[in-house]
């Protein structure tokens, strides 16, 4: 790195910044604590709890994400997609790291299946306890990062066209469910009560795949390398040390 070449700011400017920031911190603390002392209500807690029986899930955070403010979540997935398209448009990915040694490969053989299992658990438990699509997607993406660090140039993602389908799957299913509720004469993403739980699980399942794909692709950091240069896919390679153990 070029840290040693980084130009130093002027000492007086740095001092001025520090003084102003200390004042800013004091001001923020004062505003917050006077507000916290006089805050009247409990925000949207009561409303969220009251509507919970009609949301299809029993975890209020999942109800906010996938029911009350589902449109926000749909748009956030679009933000992720936009970021990945920006990364891909900047050129091909770097070739990645050399193949991992036996120790790292053995670690990955243990950790990656555990991450996939935990991701599935978090996705399922999200309906009634902390968990859900974002947590599960982050865990799966962590598995992809480990595979990339272990020498798989594509981080165990499928080929490019399949990646494109995975990247839009969550948004597509989300939007289709919204359109279906529109066609059925309800509001956009206004689920019928009897189906709400299953619709949320369906959306979350595909959202998990999309989030995992987008985050892993962001870590790979460019358009995926063409398949002929790809080594054997990570999962198959990782089987061998697992059997020995």
């Amino acid at each position: 790195m070029r840290n040693s070449l980084e130009p130093k700011p002027q000492r007086s400017a740095a001092l001025l910044v520090v003084v102003l920031l200390i004042l800013l911190a004091g001001l923020l603390q004062w505003v917050y604590f006077t507000h916290a002392a006089t805050a009247p209500g409990a925000g949207l807690t009561a409303l969220a709890q009251a509507e919970l029986p009609r949301s299809g899930v029993t975890n209020p955070v999942t109800a906010v994400l996938l029911n009350y403010r589902a449109l926000d979540t749909l748009l956030e997935l679009s933000v992720l997609l936009t970021a990945m398209l920006g990364i891909w448009s900047l050129g091909p990915a770097t070739p990645g790291y050399q193949q991992a040694g036996a120790v790292f490969a053995g670690l990955a053989a243990w950790v990656v299946p555990l991450l996939i299992l935990s991701g599935g658990y978090l996705l399922w438990i999200g309906a009634k306890a902390p968990g859900g699509a974002f947590q599960a997607g982050a865990l799966l993406a962590a598995a992809g990062v480990i595979q990339r660090l272990g020498g798989d140039p594509r981080a165990s993602l499928p080929n490019e066209s399949a990646q494109r389908w995975l990247a839009i799957a969550g948004i597509g299913i989300f939007a289709l469910v919204g359109l279906a509720t529109l066609v059925a004469g309800r509001g956009f993403l206004d689920y019928p009560l009897a189906w709400a739980g299953w619709l949320i699980l369906l959306i979350e399942t595909f959202a998990t795949l999309t989030i995992a794909t987008l985050l892993t692709a962001a870590y790979v950091g460019g358009q995926p390398p063409p398949s002929q240069t790809t080594a054997t896919p990570g999962m198959h390679r990782m089987q061998a040390p697992d059997r020995k153990a």
């Binding site: 070029r2 700011p9 911190a25 923020l28 906010v64 994400l65």
Partner: protein, 92 residues
């Protein structure tokens, strides 16, 4: 209440430390780390505002933080890609 104050104070400190680093460092990667630290401060503050004296926590800020973390990660990745393209060598 005490945990709430602790979270809010930590949030302000992280936010201000992030601004400090953002203003006084010139390397892009340091600025990005600073922006992420500022974001962590905002997340701390949102979590603090969700608490209300023993009642169940407000789920809306929790949901905002949850999606915000993932969006922050991908925005950072995009910024790193921009930085690499700007440097033009692409070796890290």
């Amino acid at each position: 209440m005490d945990a709430e104050l602790l979270y809010a104070s930590a949030g302000f400190i992280l936010f201000v430390l992030g601004i400090w680093s953002l203003l006084l460092h010139r390397l892009l990667i340091r600025k990005l780390i600073a922006l992420n630290i500022m974001g962590s401060g905002v997340f701390h503050l949102l979590i603090a505002t969700a608490e209300h004296h023993g009642e169940p926590a407000d789920p809306v800020p929790h949901a905002l933080v949850l999606t915000g973390i993932v969006v922050a990660v991908s925005a950072t990745a995009l910024a790193l890609s921009f930085g690499r393209a700007l440097r033009g060598d692409g070796d890290d």
